[in-house]
């Protein structure tokens, strides 16, 4: 595959050839090779499949693919088998010979490897019947299971780069922008700015040299939605970028990926090289006369570099510090040239819109938010993973139908969307539709795709403190409200969680929040108060319990809880004595309750966790 494609016809001929080659009745095995499956040992599973297929002389009779993320990370490594849509989960390399002998050769399903629905308790054979997938609309992530991310052939055979060919030969740049505008696509990086309008401003901005940029600096704790897309389907992002560059009039693009995403970096680099080799990138793309090059820049991991102006400063080789955007980056961005920056997910929506049309795209979603949104569903939930849902789905559907509800039968307490700068929404808002404007109205935001579910054992004051501590460390330190304000807010939260809060604290937090929102230089400072504001708004009783009663209702804040032995339940087994790192518990002889010396207790909770008889109390 090194022949350059010189026209649209060349591309279509190649696609035909690839599709013909793949059309066969061969059984297909797709193994998730996504980042989250790596620690579960998916590489070993892939290697086992490769060697076992050779041993059985099946190498040419079975199609084996190591694909990008399948989504249900909680149950990885995932193996998907066709025909039959058979969904195996938590597969180990030891299971591989049996899968080949039983399922591939004999066609039997292995019960042990099937997924059990956490709510109904029933085993499920087909992926399409797994509730996790049923309410999703995997418009963008769906192809992850079809393609090897490092094989451009896979992408092309599933229709890849046909949107680019359409954009280059069938419609004008103005029509592309019109189509994106009409689709209602809004920026997936968090703020939800209309993408078409942004492109239009950049196209119209005076200047010969313009840039397009992919923001892949996903830095929210717990979020990996962009990672799953970049490492799983890098060409979809690249195709969107090339189309955007053509529409805007840019000849140079940059992909800013954080260095902590090695798989995304490797797969994206491979994608660039392959596209270049095939003539889909570089000079005279597909013979259209359009020239466009892309470079990958690795980010050092500063959270603030996800902010567009800080990202551009970093791209220029300067310190990643934001600047005021009174003159927009579409007019004066990278090296003071018109620059159009979009998030990974925004770019990969572009080929879909060009191919299927704005009218079709508009059928998905709500009035103000069209299409789908990818979330990293994490926290105290049964099915953690990457989910892609149509806009307008409710939080309840995501958490209970897709996420399978709360872990260990605990009670739901809050869900945070939008990462550290998002807000914590309570149970009463579970029926809120996922929509840019609705989430903002509720005090949270869409963000770039983090969704953290919390249960009754989470202290909301402690959570607010956690996010503020994160933001305090990640503030660039340039402007006073963000640098000094977050620190003061965190100090007040420290005091409250340590039982040193006073009644004026909530008011002071609110006053500080107002100043950070109004006068911070960039969105990091302006959204930093969100976790505090929403927890005060929806969980004020918890703040009051900490301040007025010196009590942490969730039993999390160490200074406000103490452990004690419930003597009538304690048989003196001594497990807690061994577990205690501070030797604070004394063994008093068999069948006699142990004795806890509270002056030595550091409230680590080791005794509480280890006691099987609930003989240790916490209050």
């Amino acid at each position: 595959m090194s022949n350059k494609l010189c026209s649209k016809q060349d591309l279509e001929a190649l696609r035909k050839e690839l599709v013909n080659k793949q059309q066969s009745n061969k059984p297909r095995i797709a193994i998730c090779n996504g980042t989250a499956c790596h620690p579960y040992g998916c590489v070993k599973v892939i290697e086992a499949f490769e060697s076992e297929l050779v041993k059985r002389g099946l190498k040419d009779k079975v199609s084996l693919k190591a694909t990008g993320c399948h989504g249900l990370c909680e149950r990885g490594p995932i193996v998907l088998i066709e025909p039959g849509d058979i969904f195996y989960q938590q597969v180990k390399s030891e299971d591989v010979p049996e899968i080949l002998d039983e399922t591939i050769i004999k066609g039997n399903v292995i019960d042990r490897l099937l997924y059990t629905d956490p709510i109904a308790g029933k085993k499920i054979v087909q992926q399409s019947a797994v509730p996790f997938y049923q309410k999703q609309e995997r418009l963008i992530l769906g192809n992850n299971i079809e393609i090897t991310p490092t094989a451009i052939e896979d992408y092309i055979s599933t229709g890849g780069y046909s949107a680019l060919a359409k954009a280059l030969f069938e419609i004008t740049p103005e029509q592309i922008i019109e189509e994106i505008k009409r689709s209602g696509l809004r920026g997936r990086g968090g703020a939800g700015f209309p993408t078409g309008a942004k492109w239009d401003s950049c196209r119209k901005a005076p200047g010969d040299i313009k840039y397009v940029i992919v923001n892949a600096d996903e830095g929210d704790p717990g979020a990996y939605a962009n990672e799953g897309l970049l490492s799983g389907n890098p060409h979809s992002v690249l195709e969107g970028l090339i189309i955007g560059a053509y529409a805007i009039g840019a000849r140079q693009g940059y992909i800013y990926v954080r260095n902590e995403y090695p798989l995304a970096l490797a797969n994206m680099t491979a994608a660039l090289n392959q596209a270049q080799e095939l003539g889909l990138l570089g000079g005279n793309i597909l013979g259209s006369g359009f020239n466009f090059n892309v470079r990958i820049t690795r980010g050092g991991g500063a959270f603030v570099c996800g902010e567009s102006t800080a990202l551009m400063a970093s791209l220029e080789g300067r310190v990643g510090e934001p600047r005021a955007k009174y003159v927009h980056t579409v007019e004066k961005g990278l090296w003071d040239r018109p620059s159009n920056l979009n998030n990974v997910e925004t770019w990969s929506n572009v080929p879909v819109i060009i191919n299927k049309g704005a009218d079709w795209y508009r059928t998905l979603g709500t009035d103000g938010s069209k299409g789908t949104k990818i979330f990293s569903l994490v926290g105290k939930i049964n099915n953690t993973g990457l989910v892609e849902v149509p806009m307008g789905i409710t939080l309840r559907e995501i958490i209970y139908d897709i996420g399978g509800g709360i872990r260990d039968g605990k009670k739901f307490k809050a869900v945070q969307t939008g990462g550290p700068s998002g807000g914590c929404l309570p149970e009463s808002l579970l029926d809120l539709p996922v929509d840019f404007d609705e989430l903002t109205k509720a005090g949270s935001m869409m963000g770039s795709g983090g969704m953290i579910v919390m249960d009754e054992t989470t202290c909301m004051v402690d959570i607010a403190k956690y996010f503020l501590t994160f933001l305090e460390e990640e503030s660039c330190g340039k402007c006073v409200p963000c640098r000094e304000g977050i620190k003061r807010m965190r100090q007040i939260l420290d005091d409250i969680t340590e039982g040193k809060g006073n009644e004026e604290d909530i008011g002071l937090l609110e006053r500080l929040s107002a100043t950070l929102i109004d006068s911070s230089l960039c969105a990091l400072g302006a959204t930093a108060p969100n976790p505090v504001i929403t927890t005060i708004r929806y969980f004020k009783d918890e703040y009051e319990a900490h301040i007025k009663e010196r009590r942490c209702p969730a039993g999390v804040c160490k200074a406000l809880i103490h452990y004690y032995i419930i003597e009538e339940k304690c048989p003196g087994c001594g497990l807690c004595v061994k577990a205690c790192p501070e030797v604070a518990i004394t063994f008093m002889g068999k069948k006699k309750p142990v004795v806890l010396d509270e002056s030595k207790c550091i409230k680590c909770g080791a005794c509480y966790d280890v006691c099987k008889l609930e003989a240790i109390g916490k209050e």
Partner: protein
């Protein structure tokens, strides 16, 4: 020309001028700490915030950076501006609780004590406005110092916190610092800038015998402008 309003009064300004420029040209007082007219605006201290609107919703912006727009209405002392500015001063006062410049500025705005617990108040002189670093880069052109670290630990510093080798001892950082955070002294024939761990030999005037400027600074200027070798042998007073 652009026509717009500050506090109800109409002004005409050139395109590209900032609100602060126009305000100051017309004697309207807007406080600043990180601003200096010889240096590119930076927007770090946020004291120069104003409330702007153009028809619709109003918002808070920094006047040092915001370019004037046709029909813009600017309020320099609205309740929203004042309450934000006061909180910013409280934050600065909490950091620099003993600094006389900050204390005076805060007091002028009616802020005597920050609302934070006294045990958390700090005694710092530097507000990280970056004027020293920016003057060194943009005016002097040597970039001997820079802002290092992130967030609350950010500070102006010499490379690797060692002696700043590129420093020419001109003292621009000292003169431009709004809060007196840079400690410089001329001791006999030596100039010391403590913050950057540097010492310079001062040049003696051939006529009056005064030590009047660091030799390294004069050499830097002489080379840059191709001046004769004896150009700085006599101090400006004696020339």
């Amino acid at each position: 020309m652009i026509t717009f309003k500050i506090d109800g009064r109409e002004f005409k300004a050139e395109k590209g001028q900032t609100i602060l420029q126009v305000a100051r040209e017309n004697g309207i007082d807007i406080p600043t700490l990180c601003h200096h007219e010889a240096i590119e605006p930076y927007g770090a201290c946020r004291l120069c915030i104003v409330e702007i609107s153009r028809g619709g919703r109003s918002r808070i912006v920094t006047s040092c950076l915001y370019p004037v727009e046709e029909g813009l209405e600017v309020k320099t002392g609205s309740p929203r501006v004042i309450s934000n500015r006061k909180m910013i001063l409280e934050l600065l006062l909490a950091r620099c609780s003993k600094n006389s410049v900050i204390r005076e500025l805060a007091s002028h705005m009616g802020v005597e004590q920050p609302s934070f617990k006294s045990e958390y108040l700090e005694d710092n002189d530097c507000i990280v406005c970056g004027l020293c670093v920016r003057a060194c880069e943009q005016v002097v052109g040597v970039s001997a110092i820079s802002l290092v670290n992130r967030g609350i630990t950010k500070e102006p510093a010499s490379p690797f916190l060692e002696s700043a080798l590129a420093c020419i001892g001109c003292g621009s950082c000292y003169y431009i610092c709004p809060t007196g955070a840079i400690k410089m002294e001329d001791r006999g024939d030596i100039r010391i800038i403590h913050n950057w761990k540097v010492e310079f030999k001062l040049k003696k005037c051939r006529v009056c015998g005064d030590y009047w400027a660091p030799e390294k600074q004069l050499e830097y200027i002489r080379t840059k402008w191709g001046l004769p070798e004896d150009f700085f042998d006599i101090c400006p007073t004696c020339k």
